[in-house]
Symmetry: C2
């Protein structure tokens, strides 16, 4: 561990907001702020497939820095994948252009669950931990670095489905048909996620976001039965170490359950109304979000009026980290990202 880890960066707005402390300006970062909408990124992708970019610490750190150099953002996020853990657990990963991640040997029965391997992140995901160390050096402590992982439910969705899906109908059916087998899978994923996130803190991550991208496909009662206990366990293991953020796309109906966890920041999908959310779970929380990314794609006016609404609506909250309500869309003009970031600060 470097001494750097415990010293706040020069721009500490993001970390202060995470802790619910007063800030000099609303911090802003964007989910998928490093990605295909940037020419610098597309140029690298011409040479390297995505997995080779993620698995090479120098290249991953370089991509992490691209939006930091281009925009006045208040946090960097390490360039990695939410599904990274599944490969060392034994699932054969391939990114197929146009289809996204595909696992060639999905988890289908109890034997597949039992065959999943324990992960030593220091050995098997050393490339991301090294990328975190390298990014921290490149950032020169100017802004903080966020680490992350997919949450157990979302990892389970991909592991069982073997890839993406509209609503993971078959995965939910698999889950309902054997709750004990599901619990065993979730236990293993939870242990792996916890170890991986703790290793990211050791490597220098100053905050951690858990992406439960697909939790929203569960009903409230089934989220409480089949996902929440494991997510809660992870946040409990991280409590008091670094600020934590929860984000689930399309999970507006689950916010009561999420707010009940020991998490610092509640990420909001673009669909939910911040005012209604605060009516449900209070203003005494820190929220992250939630501009519709399609507004950023549409026009300067749509982006700026939408951003002004988000800022106004979240004023009553104890803390607000400005973000999109989902990742940057790949056809978004970078000039408009700059305009947005500056407008949020101004």
């Amino acid at each position: 561990m470097t001494g750097m880890t415990h010293k706040d960066p020069i721009n500490d707005c993001f970390l202060k907001a995470c802790r619910g402390e007063p800030v000099s300006r609303t911090p802003v970062w964007l989910m998928r702020q490093a990605g295909r909408y940037m020419a610098e990124y597309r140029k690298m992708r011409e040479t390297y497939p995505i997995l080779e970019m993620m698995k090479n610490p120098e290249r991953a750190a370089e991509v992490t820095m691209q939006p930091v150099r281009a925009f006045d953002i208040d946090a960097a996020i390490i360039f990695a994948d939410i599904l990274t853990l599944l490969e060392p657990m034994g699932l054969q990963l391939e990114f197929i252009p146009g289809r996204g991640p595909v696992f060639h040997n999905p988890v289908r029965d109890t034997a597949d669950v039992l065959a999943l391997k324990t992960v030593d992140p220091h050995k098997q995901i050393d490339f991301t931990l090294d990328a975190i160390r390298l990014s921290r050096e490149l950032l020169e402590n100017k802004i903080p670095l966020i680490g992350f992982s997919g949450a157990p439910f979302t990892l389970a969705c991909y592991a069982v489905q073997g890839g993406g899906s509209k609503d993971f109908d078959e995965v939910r059916a698999w889950m309902f048909s054997s709750p004990a087998r599901w619990a065993d899978l979730m236990d293993r994923l939870t242990d792996a996620v916890t170890e991986y996130l703790l290793a990211q803190i050791d490597a220098g991550a100053q905050a951690l976001q858990l992406f439960d991208s697909w939790a929203g496909c569960l009903s409230v009662a089934d989220y409480e039965r089949f996902a929440a206990p494991w997510t809660r366990k992870i946040f409990a293991a991280l409590e008091g170490k670094v600020p934590t953020i929860h984000f689930s796309a399309n999970g507006g109906h689950l916010l009561e359950q999420i707010a009940d966890m020991p998490v610092s920041v509640i990420g909001l999908d673009w669909r939910v109304s911040p005012s209604q959310v605060m009516e449900r779970i209070g203003t005494d929380r820190v929220y992250q979000g939630n501009l519709d990314p399609a507004r950023l794609l549409a026009s300067d006016e749509a982006a700026l009026t939408g951003a002004a609404e988000v800022l106004e609506n979240l004023k009553p909250a104890k803390g607000h980290i400005f973000n999109l309500g989902h990742g940057v869309i790949k056809t978004t003009p970078p000039e408009r990202v700059k305009l947005l970031v500056d407008a949020v600060h101004g």
Copy 2:
């Protein structure tokens, strides 16, 4: 118009529940109750492509009747597509196996909007109106027949995108970038939907469901700006004629806006908690839903315990029409559908 239209069917549980009147048993029907999970349907599809089944009144009525013969359901729903209107408006439709509906000349600019044609449903969608008349004859007034259409927002999504999409990001951006052009498109779609639904009533539809399948991809504020006014207008035009139902997959965050419309029945997606919904918009309403269709796919136990929960949770409501929270999944065993329908009645 036949005299039949104004006489309640022998089993009037569904219509009574729609009106909030007491019923002898909880009525049940299932979204996509006629479809690929039934061997009878798959057999017909071996001979006829889907559009040829929809456009032939005898075949469409036959498919409508398949679940009526197999299960003790309390309502039939005409076999048609939610996007039917777009073809006579000028969009070239093709169903591509594995991809779903594709429109070869999507709406992309103002000229495309202006070029959309006015639809005379009596002439151009006569096949569905005839299928309604024929189904009413085959039903012999034993149970009521539901008609339907896609709502303007969902029709607009497909018209602009030219097919399906994960979240219709580009359509939302198109909408944000020119609200006036969007309003013009929505006006035209709303007129067409209204005429089509009124024609369905004339043909014998005893209730109407508006499927706004994709409204859930809008934020609450943008739903109020870009979709709700048009949906509201349609329900206002239908008020007092036949009971109406609203359903939006993934639209749990929009229920306050939907409840504010002159609609008889509020359809609930499987994700939302009926108890939370009633806390938000009250018990003095009629709700339809909302078993997770993956429970019906999973096992008898998952289906029956889930159904019991839904029935129990919706007891305080003024009315409850049992349904899934989305369509029947195509690999669902028909025997389990029978088990579910009988369990809801028992």
